[in-house]
Symmetry: C2
Subunit: 225 residues, 2 copies
């Protein structure tokens, strides 16, 4: 059993938690490990308190603190952006929002979540936790340009375009492109999309996760033609 | 200017932040103070760093840490639960979810948010912050029983009842009753409601804030008869 806080694996895990090393990531807690298992992901390492590692040594690598019971180290997986339903995030820096979008994508059956420039790392500890395990079930892609996105690209904007409920089933494959809460989408990204839509609301903004989830809900609620 | 960390007002604010004193609450940050002002709320006290209080002394009462610039103390306001659109939370202990529901209620024009038993304090610092100022714009009510809720009461359940998109416009006034993420609604609460509905999703659950917001969106997207 690992008890030394200077153990090389623990040092490696600390670097992964801080995202100073990439290519692999850490998922903490029995629920996340169960989600990984269910989705067929094999961990490179599993550390359980009192089994592979002492509780005290495990606490030194936890992003959650001393209460953690187990964690796993996994290889990152990146996929191409695929449809028929894809959500693309642009400039969404909050990792909690990225994780929540993954969760919504799993709920509404999106085929992938694409991450554009200036968007939080989906494999960071906060995003993984907020995903509630969806990081293991929904393919994530990195994209540099709107042109890489599948299907008809619809920019979700605070005010412009068609009201979301009136969008109807405009295409078999759709990507919703969602920006950050205050900044919204850059003009060149909106211009590169095929259409714009907005969620009719009374006040300024919904956060990116809420907007993306409402768009996915709207898409899945429209009956097939 | 207040510089002593032992100043009686600062002591009072610490108690309010920890919710050891009730009846009043603290909103931190210039955005929240602006939201309060816009909604016509007069603060009992305003403390701005370098004006009424030293930055160091202000940091000792902040729930955000040393970066805070301003905070206000306000009297809590409680309202009756009113329609035509109301969201009622039952057993939603996470204050971030309560704040996010308030934000969604403002976005979709709900008349009130009702808080049932075992639901987080909407005036606690985390709920106020998550509300992004909606705490000042949306009336909040405390209720002990489903019978106090306005209109047709619809229990949002993970699996039971009508799929939300098929609910249609069943009544002029509606309350959506939403439970906690894992537990859902207690059986007696579901039984006391007039109908049940679920959001058709692939996996286990959406959080309470997402479920409530989707229900409000669905309600507002249905055209008037």
């Amino acid at each position: 059993m690992i008890t030394s806080h200077a153990n090389p694996l623990l040092k490696d895990i600390r670097r992964l938690q801080a995202r100073r090393a990439r290519g692999r990531f850490v998922a903490e807690g029995e629920d996340l490990l169960a989600a990984a298992h269910e989705a067929g992901w094999e961990p490179e390492h599993v550390l359980r308190a009192g089994v592979e590692v002492s509780a005290a040594a495990l606490a030194t690598v936890s992003a959650l603190g001393s209460g953690t019971r187990a964690l796993g180290v996994f290889a990152e997986r990146w996929a191409p952006p695929t449809g028929p339903l894809c959500v693309a995030l642009w400039g969404v820096r909050d990792p909690g929002n990225v994780g929540t979008v993954l969760r919504g994508a799993l709920a509404f059956g999106a085929a992938s979540v694409a991450l554009g420039p200036d968007t939080a790392d989906p494999f960071g500890p906060k995003a993984v936790r907020a995903s509630m395990g969806a990081i293991f079930a929904v393919p994530v892609a990195r994209v540099a340009s709107v042109t890489e996105l599948p299907g008809t690209r619809i920019a979700l904007d605070a005010r412009r375009g068609t009201p979301l409920p009136e969008l109807g089933r405009i295409a078999d494959a759709v990507t919703f492109v969602v920006g950050a809460e205050r900044e919204g989408l850059p003009e060149d990204v909106i211009a590169a999309c095929d259409a714009a839509a907005h969620i009719p609301i009374n006040n300024e903004s919904l956060n990116a996760a809420m907007a993306a989830t409402l768009a996915m809900y709207e898409r899945t609620r429209v009956p097939e033609a």
